[in-house]
């Protein structure tokens, strides 16, 4: 049976619903040694800033029950070096190029969007959700007014699809998603990491030098699924689901809950070829259920009344 894995989400047509989550795939170079990246829907670049950033001091990672905390702090070469050295590589992988940008201010987001608008990229992912920097990002993304301002300002300078990547560290995710949709985003990406902490009681110190970090991995999947499902009831723009996906069943859970596509993050850190296996297993699972088009699953969840 021929299984069609292609999907459309937020103005981008992709051969597969699997996108590689920002910060867990670099710019694709390292992973290109392991498998043919054209099997993917797309790659979301590491979060970029206007100027290069060294990131936070190590330790930057701590293991948790079914997941991990990271406090990388947006280490990246800056948007200009990205355009010169990394984008050409991403362009020839054969999958879509999503550029994740993180700003300290509205001006930062606009400046980067202006640089990207004439480049051969497929979408801009606004990182309104990084918990590991002191200003901007998550702080902007937790305030519906600032979030609206950023998206509107970026919308004014580019016709590229805009994906708003939201933080779960808010009281109402629906409120943020509605604000993003109203401001002109083409899709919402749910979710970035949950802010957390790990402590070494013997040394009386947090394990992360940044004190706090972002929780990812299977530990956050239930939270992410709930947010996707909730937002699906509230907004009409497509949702890209992220959080704790390790296997093909996880992908289908997210799609049924309302996601048009998904991102795989931490799974890449444990098995570099995770997406290859998930792609293979998706075909098998759908085949067994006589489902020929994965896109027909989106939002088919029937909540109990």
């Amino acid at each position: 049976m021929k299984i069609d894995l292609s999907v459309e989400a937020g103005g981008v047509r992709m051969a597969s619903p699997l996108l590689m989550a920002s910060g867990t795939f670099g710019f694709g170079r390292e992973m290109d040694a392991f498998y043919d990246l054209s099997i993917l829907g797309g790659i979301c670049s590491k979060g970029l800033t206007v100027a290069p950033r060294l990131g936070n001091d190590p330790p930057r990672a701590a293991e948790t029950a079914s997941g991990m905390l990271n406090s990388v702090g947006l280490q990246n070469p800056g948007i200009d070096a990205f355009l010169e050295h990394e984008l050409p590589f991403m362009r020839q992988t054969g999958c879509k190029t999503i550029v994740n940008i993180a700003g300290y201010s509205v001006e930062d987001y606009v400046a980067m969007a202006e640089k990207l608008t004439d480049e051969a990229i497929d979408a801009i992912e606004l990182n309104l959700s990084c918990p590991n920097v002191r200003t901007g990002c998550m702080l902007i993304g937790s305030d519906p007014l600032q979030l609206t301002e950023v998206i509107q300002a970026v919308r004014a300078v580019t016709d590229k699809p805009i994906w708003a990547k939201l933080t779960p560290n808010v009281t109402s995710i629906s409120q943020m998603a509605v604000a993003a949709a109203d401001a002109g985003a083409d899709a919402v990406v749910l979710i970035n990491t949950l802010m957390g902490m790990a402590v070494d009681w013997k040394t009386r110190r947090p394990i992360l030098k940044n004190n706090t970090g972002g929780l990812s991995g299977p530990a956050i999947k239930p939270v992410a699924l709930r947010m996707v499902s909730e937002v699906y009831q509230q907004v009409d723009i497509p949702i890209i689901g992220v959080g704790g996906i390790l296997c093909a069943e996880d992908v289908l859970d997210f799609m049924v809950a309302g996601a048009s596509a998904v991102q795989i993050g931490t799974a890449n850190l444990i098995s570099p070829c995770a997406a290859v296996k998930i792609t293979h297993d998706l075909r098998q699972l759908l085949g067994k259920e006589n489902l020929t088009r994965i896109s027909t699953l989106t939002g088919t969840l029937q909540l109990w009344s």
């Binding site: 867990t24 390292e30 190590p58 330790p59 990271n70 850190l269 444990i270 570099p272 296996k277």
Partner: protein
């Protein structure tokens, strides 16, 4: 952990090279109260691993754990690792039983660059003596003169001393308690050694260090004073082990200033002169 089995149909799905393989535990031998020697049946890793490279092992919890390669037997396809219990991951590894199948990623990272040297002095402290043993094994295979300096807390704490003696290198064992060849830590023993060496082989001698940061920093300083090339193997907490997540960084010097280099792919071995201590 989501295990990807060694998949003969891999090619068909687009895999070029899966760094993850599943390996059977061949043996686990206790070396002393908190260290064990783990032997894995891992022909691909045995064939490819260079001294200073490491593997990232499934360890009973969510993330893998990085452990340096201690020795290989290419003919029998065996890889040996020396593991000291630090926390729950290494604890889990040190309780493995023969026959258990484990997901292992590797070999990973940049090892020691031995090319061009006719003599290698390894300086190890703590768990550093494990990966450095492989350096001496390689020196022997390549006809490079080997001198091994190993530092321990005490004789009771010492490991691999018989291995090193049998490796055909000159050995110097130091302990804080003074119950081995030299009293003091490994860097102090290195300095004693250098004073006793003829002074005409700086050009073709490499000092290779692995151990606690303060020890390596001291070794790097001594190497600088005595004008020897020096490479150090750094340790940092890791996740992916392949360079994509940026959690394992260590500070290095560049032409333009300082950079956060990835310990897993830019290292773990760095020229000592490039490290910001």
């Amino acid at each position: 952990m989501d295990k990807i089995p060694a998949d003969p149909a891999g090619q068909r799905h687009g895999i070029k090279y899966d760094p993850v393989t599943t390996c059977e535990v061949a043996a686990l031998v206790r070396l002393n109260s908190d260290t064990s020697q783990l032997t894995l049946k891992a022909p691909r890793i045995a064939a490819a691993a260079e001294p200073g490279q490491f593997v990232n092992l499934e360890a009973g919890h969510f993330l893998r754990r990085p452990i340096g390669v201690m020795a290989v037997d290419r003919q029998q396809g065996l890889v040996q690792l020396g593991i000291r219990v630090q926390g729950r991951g290494t604890e889990w590894l040190s309780r493995l039983r023969p026959g258990t199948v484990l997901s292992v990623m590797g070999p990973l990272g940049k090892g020691f660059q031995l090319e061009g040297y006719r003599r290698v002095i390894t300086v190890g402290g703590g768990t550093g003596v494990f990966p450095l043993y492989y350096v001496q094994q390689m020196c022997r295979e390549q006809g490079i003169d080997g001198i091994a300096v190993c530092g321990y807390r005490s004789k009771a704490d010492s490991v691999l001393t018989d291995h090193y003696r049998a490796a055909g290198c000159q050995v110097l064992f130091a302990s804080d308690e003074g119950d081995l060849d030299v009293e003091g830590h490994a860097a102090a023993a290195l300095e004693q050694l250098l004073q006793s060496l003829e002074m005409d082989r700086q050009e073709d001698t490499l000092i290779a260090a692995c151990g606690p940061n303060i020890m390596m920093q001291a070794v790097a300083k001594i190497a600088d004073v005595y004008q020897y090339d020096c490479q150090v193997s750094l340790e940092e907490r890791m996740a992916c082990g392949v360079g994509v997540c940026l959690v394992c960084v260590c500070k290095t010097k560049t032409k333009t200033g300082e950079a956060n280099s990835r310990c897993c792919v830019d290292g773990p071995v760095f020229p000592a002169k490039e490290v910001v201590w």
